[in-house]
Point group: C2
């Protein structure tokens, strides 16, 4: 099966919302009047962003999920995706499973694959995601104000725990926790519904991919404010929360969470709780913004918690 | 210099036409009312799409050029780009030169870089290009009709000649020809002005990246017509045209041309010649479409020319 047959068989699907989908020099869509177009790209490299033996179905899910997470962080509705794959060889079974994972998530969120590129090469995946939001509305990183609450969705630290267990840096000897952590690492759920629900309520947002403190740091720096995070308030799996200070680096700086971190005025607390409940998504108030710069992670007694590393730098 | 500093220093530039450029979870643009959005992605892998020792400035040019060529093939105006790079290490000198080549071409065509991703990994580049054209207008591959002229822009075969010389498959012993071939391989010029000028004149178009016959084949198959190409009419460098039948595989099936191939009714010949002249771009009428399927390459006596290989298949 050659390159063109492979693309045609597994990636050329109906894209009813597109004027022209996979198969021409470019795809064509007609943007929704009154909306801005949001777009983002993420590249995943074997051995860096995923383990070489990851199930291709899980990889298909995650490749799209990390991009949808960017749309969620803008409060945008995800619409269209383009997928580039470099593959060592045209392995049909692998591509079939990868496509199954990719499209299951795409279908769940009404996202259509409208283009891409397939080539030989070291296993590398790059998705471009396009979304729409009403003109002028977006959860930008630079919109936080001093005195905002800081919120985070879902549970933190699980993906990082799974990675560290796999690398032998620590040993997770609780099977339930390990299963939850592995699932979170392989099948992160992009928070699209929550992001859209926060569009009228929150001020600034980002998705947590490099670690909570690193991604919050981008919001704080862009907005020109400082922040404090309460270690005791960081949400996680009950079995991880019980040992939170032992694993605080995973919770606060672990990466691979794909949760939303956002700031909002305290006057919005009840609305945020209610909207999150409608979305079926846990949200936790984990800190606040302040005048100044930098970010402190505080323990229950208000003392600064020191971490070795606040996030992931791909060349660090 | 870490990942974020590297991005900020070399790739974060003003993007006046964007509502939000590099640095947030997504970029935001406001589509032009009355236009469709055209988008495409191409991935370049070291050792497959470029030689490992290519000058980074040339690579920056080519990485964008091959994507702009897709916009040209649609007749769209290129507007915005997103760039993903996997790099073995954060080599500042390399990135600086790459960015210089990329932005020189972007600036020449009014294209703004509004987002991207940088990671460690085997050298891989992926650009997503977005363009606009008036709603409902596009040079689609499926729009050719039997009886159309087949046209191609510029000169064919030079890029392929440079690759084959470099690989030792043949020896180009004319320095002028080798210099022209190498320049064409490293600095292809996307035919954006010509594509836009052909939007009201041509029917179907594609860009020639995998080889003339392969890319024409996609037009013919999508349109449900056959084609014949006249070997004697294929345009190239004068020194290559003089030995055209010796190098017919380069001209007709070599790849790396990044010229436009398009079909148009014979009634448009004068308009096409005139519009191409305004663009300063050579165009050549090289064949015609017919009822049926398949494509014949004919010599001056009307006999079929046989080639070993009609195009490039990344897993072939």
């Amino acid at each position: 099966m050659n390159e063109f047959e492979l693309i045609s068989r597994y990636f050329k699907r109906d894209a009813p919302s597109a004027r022209l989908g996979v198969g021409d020099d470019a795809a064509i869509v007609r943007p929704t009047p009154g909306c801005d177009l949001h777009m983002s790209v993420d590249m995943l490299v074997e051995g860096r962003h995923f383990f070489s033996d990851v199930a291709p179905r899980a990889l298909g899910h995650k490749t799209l999920a990390v991009n949808l997470s960017d749309m969620a962080a803008m409060g945008a509705r995800a619409r269209w995706a383009l997928l580039s794959i470099a593959l060592p060889k045209a392995n049909e079974a692998w591509v079939s499973e990868f496509a199954a994972g990719f499209f299951a998530l795409a279908d769940a969120h009404g996202v259509e694959l409208i283009g891409g590129d397939t080539t030989g090469g070291p296993l590398t995946l790059s998705v471009t995601i396009l979304g729409e939001a009403p003109s002028g509305q977006a959860l930008r990183r630079d919109a936080a104000q001093a005195g905002d609450d800081i919120w985070v969705s879902g549970e933190l630290g699980l993906g990082a725990l799974a990675v560290r267990h796999r690398l032998g840096w620590l040993n997770v000897n609780d099977a339930e926790l390990l299963a939850a952590a592995t699932h979170k690492l392989e099948y992160p759920e992009p928070r699209l519904a929550l992001g859209a629900a926060m569009l009228p309520l929150a001020r600034a947002a980002a998705d947590v991919s490099d670690g909570l403190l690193a991604d919050l740091g981008h919001i704080l720096a862009a907005s020109g404010v400082a922040g404090e995070i309460w270690a005791e308030a960081l949400p996680s799996h009950p079995l991880l929360e019980a040992r939170r200070m032992e694993h605080i680096a995973c919770l606060a700086a672990g990466g691979d969470d794909y949760e939303l971190i956002f700031t909002a005025p305290p006057s919005r607390r009840a609305d945020i709780e209610a909207a999150a409940q409608v979305c079926g998504c846990r949200v936790s108030r984990i800190g606040r913004t302040l005048a100044g710069k930098g970010c402190a992670l505080l323990d229950a007694e208000g003392r600064a918690v020191k971490l070795d590393k606040e996030g992931y730098d791909h060349f660090g």
